[in-house]
């Protein structure tokens, strides 16, 4: 019987207060890790758990941590709380309902990798949540879970909250580092990767909020248990964020491998009164769109890749038949052209160009060849950019335009 991992106590009054959190068993995992386990053992456990990144890329967390070299340089942990992918709102729930769960994960991660300074890079718009995090952090310091010699283990850790200033691109790990360093949020070339050259050129681990929030559960209940909550190659649950024309939009923590159809029609209550399903974006706006006939699919990393889409941030946007696909495309192209950092020409100019065409079509001045232009330009962006934002823009534009071509052609 699969259990909830992360959201078990959500809804409990004042769960964000450390006393309430501890009453539910909070910080026992940190105690176990710091007092009874060696960093190598923790790393093994996380690797065995097959915990893949919950930010969007899905890279195995344990493998990422193992890339950090042995060095005299200080190492850093950055928790990516930028939550910029449109449609995604799971991390805000975690941080506002159960900030200590995130902190406990941070402590164990830092102890495992040998990190003594951690940053939570939170999107600037989450002001209230940032304050709640800072509250939780001072509670943790008071109780001795942060600061010097945590739990008499000889391990020091300081955690800082850093607010972003309104750029989607700062959710990209290297742009996040640049922003944290006080510079323009321009992504860096990779290689070298942040695990070896990161914050201030030092080795840095960057993980999503949900990813780190799973760590205490893995330590407490073991990797085997964690894998059982999901799939053999994808351990654990996902917090699916369902939005759009469903009866019950919101977050749903379900095992990896749950059917998309079930998520929409069983858990989220199905379509709103009088609305019919037209399309679903399964993993945040960057994920290629699925038509209403394509929703018989398991929500896990590999199944979605096979279907030429992606699990991404597990943000499910449900689109109904009264919504014009042209409007959907407009939102997509406006977003990426606005959020492009501007460093590289394919993304900077390509996204703006496509956006200009789509606006023109929406104003009724579209031409037949515009549809092919959009496809050609989006293909020219894909694979040619400095950072993944280019691909994140090209994929939805291509999938929407290809799968709903007839409807778009009716506008020109």
């Amino acid at each position: 019987m699969k259990e909830k991992v992360l959201t078990e106590h959500f809804g409990l009054e004042s769960l964000y207060k450390i006393e309430v959190y501890q009453k539910q068993g909070g910080y026992r995992a940190a105690e176990k890790a710091l007092k009874k386990m060696k960093p190598e053992e923790i790393l093994e456990e996380v690797k065995k758990a097959n915990l893949r990144g919950r930010g969007g890329a899905g890279f195995p967390a344990g493998v990422k941590w193992s890339f950090v070299p042995d060095t005299d340089k200080p190492k850093y942990l950055c928790v990516n709380a930028d939550e910029g992918e449109p449609g995604t709102f799971k991390d805000r729930y975690i941080m506002s309902h159960n900030p200590h769960m995130l902190l406990e994960g941070i402590i164990i991660t830092a102890f495992c990798v040998g990190i003594s300074v951690a940053f939570i890079y939170i999107r600037g718009e989450y002001e209230a949540i940032a304050l709640r995090l800072e509250q939780a952090i001072s509670e943790a310091y008071e109780k001795g879970f942060l600061g010097k010699n945590i739990l008499e283990s000889g391990f020091d850790l300081d955690v800082f909250v850093h607010r972003g200033a309104g750029a989607y691109i700062c959710g990209e790990e290297t742009a996040l580092l640049e922003s944290l360093e006080g510079k323009r949020g321009n992504p860096r070339l990779k290689p070298p990767f942040p695990a070896s050259v990161g914050l201030w050129q030092c080795p840095t681990v960057i993980n999503n909020v949900e990813t780190i929030s799973n760590i205490s559960h893995i330590i407490l209940n073991g990797a085997e248990w964690f894998v059982k909550q999901g799939l053999p190659k994808d351990g654990g649950t996902r917090i699916f964020g369902v939005s759009g024309m469903v009866k019950n939009p919101g977050i749903y923590e379900l095992p990896l491998g749950t059917s998309l159809k079930d998520i929409i029609f069983k858990h989220a209550g199905g379509m709103k009164e009088g609305k019919k399903l037209k399309a679903v974006i399964p993993g945040g706006m960057s994920a290629p769109i699925l038509t209403a006939d394509e929703i018989n699919i398991k929500m896990d990393f590999d199944s979605l890749v096979e279907a030429n889409s992606m699990l991404g941030s597990a943000a499910i946007i449900v689109i109904d038949d009264k919504t014009s696909i042209l409007d959907v495309l407009k939102v997509v192209t406006k977003f990426y052209s606005h959020e492009s950092c501007g460093q590289c020409s394919p993304c900077r100019i390509g996204n703006s160009w496509i956006n200009k065409i789509v606006i023109r079509i929406a104003e009724g001045k579209g031409k037949k060849e515009d549809i092919d232009s959009i496809l050609r330009l989006a293909s020219n962006i894909e694979g040619n950019t400095l950072c993944p934002l280019g691909d994140a823009a090209a994929m939805p534009i291509l999938s929407i335009t290809k799968k709903f071509r007839k409807e778009l052609e009716s506008h020109v």
Binding site: S337, H338, G342, R348, I349, G350, W353, N380, N384, L386
Partner: protein, 519 residues
């Protein structure tokens, strides 16, 4: 050394070389815009994408380091498509300014379109509008519409001058390069910005609308305006057959030399080129005719030789005085030393150089002339010119100098020169003070002759003529070599100098310092 394959051609390169540099060494040019050898790779223009076997995506040549057995293709279909795509994006938001843009003919965007593009524009939307004539400091004008955001200018001001005067503002397609709050670019290296800009975004008022780059020819030379000896390119107009142009030289560019000036030149050297064309002397002028024949280049050394010889035979060489300067080449200074110091034992040898200035902590040195070090190494003790010491008991004066008019007042010069019986001036310039001399002989500038200079750090650099000397001007080394021969004191020594190269070679035998010759 490791072996890689570029376009199926095996190439041996050092470990740590990037694909771009390795290709260059193999004679294959990979197009690039944002990369500049002076800075670490930026990777933003995407022009240098190449296909590497085993890599799923196209990779950047500028930043990818080669590995053993790497197989790179710079011409595959994917690469060709990617280049076209990048060019298309860049040109979509680029104004069609070529007919009025100074960079035309010298522009990377044009060159690459010509070679890798050649497609019709599919852009039917309105282009972004920006500032087109922003004065960003000194003589630079920024056109934000032409800018392709390669950020070379931003990086130059960050890495080289460390003044960070330019930055990128706003985001996405609204990105634009600009100055901060009216704080204009004001340092001694601003001219390099117009040079490194691959398109016509940063232009120089000094060159703006003056001529077209395809009219200009290029000659290599060394800047003589301080003792750094920066390597330069002189861009000059060879002239039209039907009408005269106001000048020959339109622009100075930097020439790369890792040992001397790196990739840059300072603004003084870049903009101070009027000395090459303004007020040039081009005829032998005889102000005092003593019933002799007309002087020409054929008989000048004979004439001088005769006059000097007579003083030598009468054991009156103490009546000879020399005014020299340190724009003279190593070879010329060597010949002067040999003739006047060694052979004639002349004591009154003075140097009249421009007064010392201030070094700028980078390239510009405090010495405003190129060869003080050379003069020292040849053996001169660089006595500053004192007019009284000069005039006292002097019957014959040979002055090599264009600076006297700037250093002394007409009254003082006149007073001193009136005491001297015979005075000959070698100068590149026509100046009213020239009338104080009996004979004025026009001479070539460094840009117009062959020779070598020794810079402040002791590096000997050879130079070749980039321009033709105007009118009757000839290089000093030729007069001196002939004079030495005609003097007849050590004829054999002077017989072996048909060229400055031979003089430098002789210097290497006589003076240990000059054994190292370079360039």
């Amino acid at each position: 050394m490791i072996k890689i394959f570029i376009d199926e051609k095996p190439v041996d390169v050092e470990e740590g070389t990037t694909v771009l540099k390795a290709a260059e060494r193999a004679g294959i040019h990979i197009p690039h815009l944002c990369y500049h050898p002076a800075f670490p790779p930026e990777g933003s223009c995407r022009m240098c994408l190449v296909e590497i076997e085993g890599f799923p995506k196209l990779e950047l040549a500028c930043s990818t380091v080669v590995k053993e057995e790497m197989k790179i293709s710079t011409k595959s279909e994917r690469v060709v498509e990617a280049r076209k795509a990048v060019l298309e994006f860049l040109l979509a938001e680029h104004p069609l300014d070529c007919p009025i843009c100074d960079k035309a003919g010298d522009c990377k965007l044009q060159d690459y379109y010509d070679e890798y593009g050649l497609f019709e524009s599919q852009f039917k939307e309105a282009k972004e509008k920006r500032e087109k004539k922003l004065k960003i400091g000194k003589s630079l004008i920024l056109d934000q519409e032409r800018c392709i955001l390669c950020t070379r200018c931003v990086r130059f001001l960050k890495e080289v001058t460390k003044t960070q005067d330019l930055g990128v503002f706003h985001r996405g397609v609204n990105s634009s390069v600009n100055i901060y709050d009216g704080a204009t670019v004001e340092n001694n290296y601003t001219g390099n910005l117009a040079e490194i800009c691959p398109v016509g975004a940063i232009t120089d008022e000094d060159f703006r609308f003056k001529t077209r780059s395809w009219f200009l020819k290029e000659g290599e030379s060394i800047c003589p305006l301080c003792s750094r000896g920066c390597n330069i390119l002189i861009e000059y107009h060879p002239g039209f057959s039907r009408f005269e142009l106001p000048k020959r030289v339109y622009r100075i560019k930097a020439r790369e030399n890792p040992e001397v000036n790196g990739f840059w030149i300072c603004d003084r050297g870049r903009y101070g080129y009027s000395y090459l064309d303004e007020g040039r002397a081009d005829k032998i002028i005889m102000n005092k005719i003593e019933g002799e024949n007309v002087l020409t280049w054929e008989n000048i050394s004979e004439y001088l030789g005769e006059k000097i010889k007579s003083l030598f035979s009468a054991k009156k060489t103490s009546a000879i005085a020399l005014i020299l300067h340190t724009w003279l080449s190593n070879e010329e200074l060597f010949l002067l030393h040999k003739i006047f110091k060694d052979d004639l034992k002349v004591e009154k040898i003075f140097f009249a150089d421009l007064p010392e200035g201030e070094a700028d902590g980078f390239l510009l040195t405090s010495e405003p002339s190129p060869n003080r070090r050379g003069a020292q190494e040849v053996g001169f003790d660089l006595k500053t010119l004192d007019l009284d010491a000069l005039a006292g008991g002097t019957d014959f004066l040979l002055a090599f100098d264009p600076f006297l008019s700037g250093l002394f007042s007409t009254k003082d010069l006149e007073a001193a020169l009136n005491k001297i019986k015979r005075k000959v001036l070698f100068s590149s310039y026509s100046h009213e003070l020239n009338s104080l001399f009996d004979i004025v002989i026009p001479v070539a500038l460094i840009a117009e002759k062959e020779g070598s200079l020794t810079n402040v750090e002791g590096i000997v650099q050879g130079f070749q003529p980039a321009l033709e000397p105007p009118g009757d001007s000839l290089p000093e080394w030729k007069v001196l070599a002939d004079l030495g021969r005609d003097l007849g004191i050590d004829t054999k020594f002077f017989e072996k100098f048909p060229s400055p190269e031979t003089i430098l070679s002789e210097m290497g035998k006589k003076i240990p310092f000059f054994k190292q010759k370079n360039d």
